[in-house]
């Protein structure tokens, strides 16, 4: 009954917004626009739970029933001229309800009962999602407010693109990177120097997300939720610690971009961000039951990097490259982070290592008229690699291998390949796509999908299939295979 009331309230609210939007969009001011999207998504497991995944959910069960509404308001306050700046604002409200914990499998309903606050926090929210003011005059541009900012050239996995925290609680790698980005309060600006020597459009950009009022961090999926990492049962409480509210914990940085010799699109960046996946520490704490707790503390990290892209005329493709050096990244060495597991009843500490990550990618569009004679096939290939400097052979990933329970090895050199290919039919309203992630150590993730637009409706059907070694990257979630149907109404 409660669920029904909630649904009716949501539907009524959304209907009111739509009606109001249609009236208001045509009133007062040609620049004022109200628009948005209402989305419902259903995901059904297509594999039985295995290993340490708990609670067990058999295939055929609902694992996600996510409803999202994004309501956007934009207006132009002033248009650029010799005497007036370009001034506009943008606001997005986001309303989320995942009903799987209210009417999904019994196991997930029970999970909610054991961890109501954390689950409700994850599955129900209404937030001011984005809210910023744009100011532009001449070579200057500023964007002040709650926003997203993305550096670099990569898709699917991040190299330089680590400014905004990511919400991996509702799908992780299954979801588009941009859908997982959490906007943060930031002031950002850039200055266009124009042509300087061989560099066209030389631009300096800086940003500051001040830490003195607390920081938004990547949320941690509560244990047992459909997209949390598998873990054996444990009575050790998990404690999350946000960064201290100090300026030193700000996210901030700068980059320089430009086009060299009318060919190479280059950027150099350095910034401080907050690590999305903090390394755990086992703490001896007499105030908790069992005297032991697992602490995750979000810390800052310095990143230096560069990216470059150019058009290669012989193969008629765009080559993208990116490299970044991560200074003092927290890592997990169980003997140091969790000495209590080895009989030393002392609080652990977090070791740090430098990590070098890079990507080489290729974007190519080509005709394959047997398949499609009106639109090109798009192909995006990427090779990711990472290398831990001053590698310690004891380094692990804090996920337990089944059935031994030992932590999964963190290799010194790691690599992945990604491929995304798509095309369009029916005047751009039908888009089939295939995404593949391959870890050469023995794991695959395949995501075939098809999207169809019947404006204003958009439907998308996706399938997530993992194969390979359970202890290798995407293989860790091997038992989370699912099919997802998503319906969106845009206005």
């Amino acid at each position: 009954m409660k669920v029904l009331r909630y649904c009716l309230l949501v539907i009524f609210s959304i209907a009111s917004v739509i009606i109001y939007a249609r009236v208001y969009a045509y009133s007062i001011n040609d620049d004022l626009e109200l628009k948005g999207e209402i989305q419902a998504r259903v995901s059904v497991r297509t594999s039985d739970s295995e290993g340490y995944t708990s609670p067990e959910i058999a295939k055929g069960n609902l694992v996600q029933q996510r409803n999202l509404a994004l309501i956007e308001l934009n207006d132009v306050l002033s248009r650029p001229s010799e005497t007036t700046p370009d001034l506009k604002f943008h606001i997005v409200g986001r309303f989320l309800y995942d009903g799987v914990y209210d009417y999904g499998p019994e196991a997930l309903q029970q999970l909610r009962e054991t961890n109501k606050v954390a689950i409700d926090d994850m599955s129900k929210s209404d937030k001011l999602w984005e809210c910023y003011l744009d100011y532009g005059q001449g070579p200057w541009f500023f964007r002040i407010g709650k926003q997203n900012l993305s550096f670099g050239e990569t898709d699917i996995f991040q190299v330089l693109d680590r400014i905004n925290p990511l919400d991996n609680t509702f799908g992780g790698t299954f979801e588009d990177l941009d859908d997982r980005r959490i906007p943060i309060w930031m002031i950002r600006g850039n200055y266009n120097f124009g042509k300087v020597g061989p560099v066209s459009s030389l631009t300096m950009e800086g940003f500051l997300n001040p830490g003195w009022n607390g920081q938004e961090v990547a949320p941690f999926a509560p244990l047992g939720t459909p997209y949390a990492y598998p873990s054996p049962p444990s009575s050790v409480p998990l404690r999350l610690h946000d960064p201290d509210a100090t300026f030193q914990n700000s996210r901030m940085g700068a980059r320089v971009t430009g086009v060299v010799n009318d060919t190479f699109n280059i950027s150099l960046a350095h910034f401080q961000t907050i690590v999305d996946t903090p390394a755990p520490v086992v703490t001896i704490d007499p105030t908790v039951t069992g005297n032991v707790a697992e602490d995750l503390t979000y810390k800052t990290e310095q990143v230096s990097g560069a990216s470059m892209s150019f058009f290669e005329p012989h193969i008629e493709a765009i080559i993208r490259t990116e490299a970044a050096y991560f200074w003092d990244e927290p890592v997990f060495i169980p003997q140091i982070n969790a000495p209590a597991l080895y009989g030393k009843f002392v609080t652990g500490s977090v070791p740090e290592k430098d990590v070098f990550r890079y990507m080489v990618g290729l974007d190519k569009n080509f005709w394959f008229r047997l398949i499609n004679d009106t639109s090109m096939i798009n192909l995006y290939l990427q090779y990711f690699a990472e290398s831990y400097q001053d590698y310690d052979s004891r380094m692990k990933i804090p996920v337990n291998s089944y059935p031994s329970g030992a932590f999964i090895e963190q290799p010194r050199y790691d690599q992945k390949f990604t491929l995304v290919t798509s095309t369009t039919y029916m005047s751009g309203t039908l888009t089939p796509q295939l995404a593949i992630i391959w870890d050469p150590r023995g794991a695959f993730l395949y995501i075939p999908s098809i999207e169809k637009t019947f404006q204003p409706w958009i439907f998308k059907l996706s399938y997530y299939l993992m194969t390979g070694d359970r202890d290798v990257s995407v293989g860790i979630l091997k038992d989370r295979q699912q099919v997802t149907l998503q319906a969106s109404l845009v206005f």
Binding site: K35, G36, E37, E72, R79, P80, S81, D86, H90, D134, G136, G138, P139, F141, N148, S150, F151, G152, D155, D161, D176, L177, D178, R181, N190, N192, G194, K195, S200, S201, T203, E205, T257, G258, V259, D262, N265, S309, F310, F311, P313, E316, A317, I318, R320, D363, K364, N365, W367, T374, S375, M376, T424, M426, S427, G428, T453, Q455, I458, V490
Partner: protein
């Protein structure tokens, strides 16, 4: 008495003639449909003539109240004398000064007036003229409505976008602008609706020299400006029936050297115009010249008049266009890229205004595939001294899928605007995006 009667008769006849002349409609047009389609034989491409013959299209054919050749910006008319023989083409079809062989610092109006049919570079020069006739209107801002229309389904949907362009050639005031990158022009298209596409944007830097265009895209899904390949010009634009190259005032917006161009004739063809008189342009408080397209009678769609007698049966026609005979060059273009999705193309370019009226597109096997045509709006202010050329309407029909896409850009069409070059920098482009 008899003389008086004769005088009276003659006087009455003269009086009647005067009354008739003063009350006659400004533009005399006749409706050409499936009953009298032969009127247009020889002055309309065959693919379009067939539409008239079958009732798909009804044409309002006649004369305009004015000569479009004279309603052009003053610097264009001046360039038709000043630029004769001033420029030539390199082997890669780039424009250089005839006297020095160097890339010119600035080209006023159109670069190649007075082209002769015997000129081996003639067709390439005319295609350059069609690119420059867009530039001569200066920085342009407009809002586009890209309509998708099916033969059976009628109007299906629209994609709305903002268009910004800034030329560094053609437009006389551009001579004083700084152009350190030696660009011919730069442009941006930013999708504003529907919601799932809003924010998608493309920016092009086109160089004066033989360099490839620099093309950047902003895709909301990745929140980043990414360099895009300048190849793929024959790919569908936003899934429409238009290819990326099917733009500009000449029906072709790619590199001139990407095609082999050839004269296949000259003659007369009917071209579509909005209104029988020049469209009024007014200068706003920012000094921008705004086309007044508020009169809804200027653009009457056949899909809005579905089933009504006297209107085109095919839903994508604009039945209010006035079609008039114009002198044209007939140019054939064959792509050099063997993977280009089109084959042969025939373009009809006005000899006096350098705009195109029709483009007939064949596929790679030589079979007829699409027809593209334009509705032109020649703008003039109330003093009749300031002239502009607008391209508010472009329609392409895919005969195989019985589907059309219309690019309508009459809403808020502004020429001679002030657009800060910073908008076309990488930083400025990012600022346009979410």
């Amino acid at each position: 008495m008899k003389n008086y009667r004769h005088f009276k008769t003659i006087f009455m006849i003269i009086l009647m003639l005067i009354i008739y002349a003063s009350s006659a409609p400004a533009a005399e047009t006749q409706s050409v449909n499936k009953d009298n389609w032969q009127v247009l034989k020889g002055i309309m491409p065959d693919s379009a003539l067939k539409w008239v013959e079958t009732g798909e299209m009804v044409v309002k054919y006649g004369k305009l109240d004015y000569d479009p050749g004279k309603v052009q910006p003053s610097w264009v008319l001046e360039s038709m004398k000043e630029n004769i023989g001033k420029y030539k083409l390199t082997s890669k079809k780039a424009i250089v000064e005839a006297s020095t062989g160097k890339s010119p610092k600035f080209i006023k109006g159109i670069p190649f007036p007075g082209v002769k049919i015997t000129d081996p570079d003639g067709p390439d020069k005319i295609m350059w003229n069609t690119l420059y006739i867009r530039d001569v209107n200066g920085p342009l801002k407009t809002k586009m409505d890209v309509k998708f229309i099916g033969r059976k389904t009628g109007y299906e949907r629209s994609i709305y976008a903002d268009w910004y362009s800034k030329p560094f050639d053609g437009y006389e005031p551009a001579k004083a602008w700084s152009n350190p990158d030696n660009l011919e022009a730069e442009n941006q298209i930013v999708v504003t609706s529907p919601y799932d596409m809003a924010g998608t944007a493309m920016m092009t830097w086109r160089y004066r020299t033989e360099k490839n265009d620099m093309l950047f895209g902003y895709v909301p899904a990745i929140r980043r400006v990414r360099q895009m390949t300048p190849a793929g010009r024959s790919d569908a634009l936003f899934g429409s029936d238009f290819a990326r190259d099917d733009g500009a005032y000449g029906g072709y917006d790619g590199a001139i050297d990407n095609f082999k161009w050839k004269f296949i004739g000259e003659g007369e063809v009917i071209g579509g115009f909005i209104g029988s008189q020049p469209v009024r342009v007014n200068q706003n408080k920012n000094g921008e010249w705004v086309f007044d397209y508020k009169n809804k009678d200027l653009l009457v769609w056949s899909y809005e008049k579905k089933g009504q007698p006297g209107y085109s049966a095919a839903p994508w026609h604009v039945d209010s266009l006035i079609w008039t005979k114009r002198p044209v060059w007939i140019i054939e273009g064959i792509p050099k890229d063997t993977y280009y999705n089109y084959g042969r193309q025939i373009i009809y370019v006005d000899k006096e205004t350098n705009v195109a009226y029709w483009k007939i597109i064949y596929d790679r096997t030589g079979k007829y595939w699409k027809t593209l045509w334009f509705g032109w709006g020649m703008g003039q202010d109330e003093t009749k001294t300031v002239n502009w050329i607008s391209m508010p309407l472009q329609i392409i029909v895919d005969e195989r899928s019985k589907h059309a896409t219309v690019q309508l850009s009459h809403m808020d069409y502004k020429c001679g605007t002030n657009i800060d070059s910073n908008q076309f920098s990488l930083g400025g482009f990012t600022a346009l995006c979410k």
